[in-house]
Symmetry: C2
Subunit: 90 residues, 2 copies
């Protein structure tokens, strides 16, 4: 079981990072972000920026890449939510 | 700067875990989860279950506790989304 451990971590990291993709696609397609909490998006974005700094400090590449990707996704969701709200869609 | 690194990791972990709280509160209050992607919720839930197994394998308590908390939040969101959809609210 221990031999499998690094792979479990890899799949876990892949899933939690890639999870933002279907949300970005759905929000872009429906042009609605009413039910998304802005607090959640901002906390995730700031938290992942700190993970990125942490990964950079300890020189951990997977942490750097995964968080750069997630920050792009969540920043995009924040931008879409603000934009739809301004247009009175949400 | 390096002396700050563990604290940056701690705050990062706190923020990314706690980010689910405002989403759970918002979804419970509004009784709407239309704009939440079910794929995102399921991928996060499975990914965090794997992080939990990973944390248990390497004996990392913060990883175990943070992911147990997040799994509870995201499972709650999935349950709410299914329940609101069934009642025809979404």
């Amino acid at each position: 079981m221990i031999a499998l451990t690094p792979y479990i971590g890899l799949v876990a990291g892949f899933l939690t990072s890639a999870a933002a993709i279907p949300q970005v696609i759905k929000t872009y397609r429906t042009k609605h972000a009413r039910d998304l909490s802005m607090w959640q998006l901002v906390m995730l974005d700031v938290g992942m920026l700190l993970w990125l700094i942490y990964g950079w400090q300890i020189g951990d590449r997977p942490l750097i890449w995964a968080n750069t990707f997630s920050i792009a996704c969540y920043t995009g969701l924040i931008a879409m939510k603000l934009s739809y709200a301004r247009r009175g869609r949400d």
